[in-house]
Amino acid sequence: MDAKEVELRNLTYSLVVELGRAPTAAEVAERAASPIDVVVAGWRRLHQQHALVLAAATDELRMANPFSAVPTAYRVRAAARWWYANCAWDAFGICAALHTDGRIETSCPDCGEPLALEVRGGRPDEESLLFHCLVPAVQWWDDIGFT
């Protein structure tokens, strides 16, 4: 990843936090004073390097991990906003990335029972829950949406 790619990646992430949602390519282009096609080309390179994830159909952001650009089963309240996380790992990751406490809301994939936990100082208030990762690490990026 070269310096320009890091710069584009960092601008993209800073806009996620500033806007409270994933920025569009047009919004990033405006902020970078750069043509949209240059931003999209840069995003595609970052996607290939797993620095973010684009939606295949639109070339817009699907993930700026740990943030999700689309609604998911993992909602996180942190820094006075609601966010969507890509998974349970990323839900904690949003609090970690923002360096703040938060609240994670989801439901059990088995029974559908709501699950909610507070994160204080990086620690969950409900310590009996379990995290299950189905896909081995070597295959995570084969289909990151499924992972």
Binding site: M1, V6, R9, N10, Y13, S14, V17, Q49, A51, N65, P66, A73, N86, C87, A88, W89, D90, A91, F92, G93, I94, C95, A96, A97, L98, H99, T106, C108, P109, D110, C111, E113, L115, L117, V119, G122, R123, P124, E126, E127, S128, L129, L130, F131, H132, C133, L134, V135, P136, A137, V138, W141, T147
Partner: protein, 69 residues
């Protein structure tokens, strides 16, 4: 990558599928702090594969399941 109430719920959700890896939510919280804590830093730089693997190993996630490509 989901949260569950108990092993029983995980087993029922898996059905006939091969289980992956189950860890306590407290370990997940530690993992997230180490993995994502630098993600919004203004001087962020990508980590190497070995640096990522070291984060997993430090939390005793060292089985073949957790071996990065």
């Amino acid at each position: 990558m989901n949260l569950f109430r108990s092993e029983e719920h995980i087993a029922r959700w898996l059905g006939d599928r091969e289980p992956g890896s189950t860890i306590p939510v407290t370990t997940l919280a530690d993992l997230a702090t180490r993995w994502w804590g630098d993600r919004l830093s203004s001087d962020w730089q990508p980590r190497t594969r070995d640096e990522n693997q070291a984060i997993l190993t430090a939390l005793d996630l060292s089985s073949p399941f957790w071996r990065l490509p």
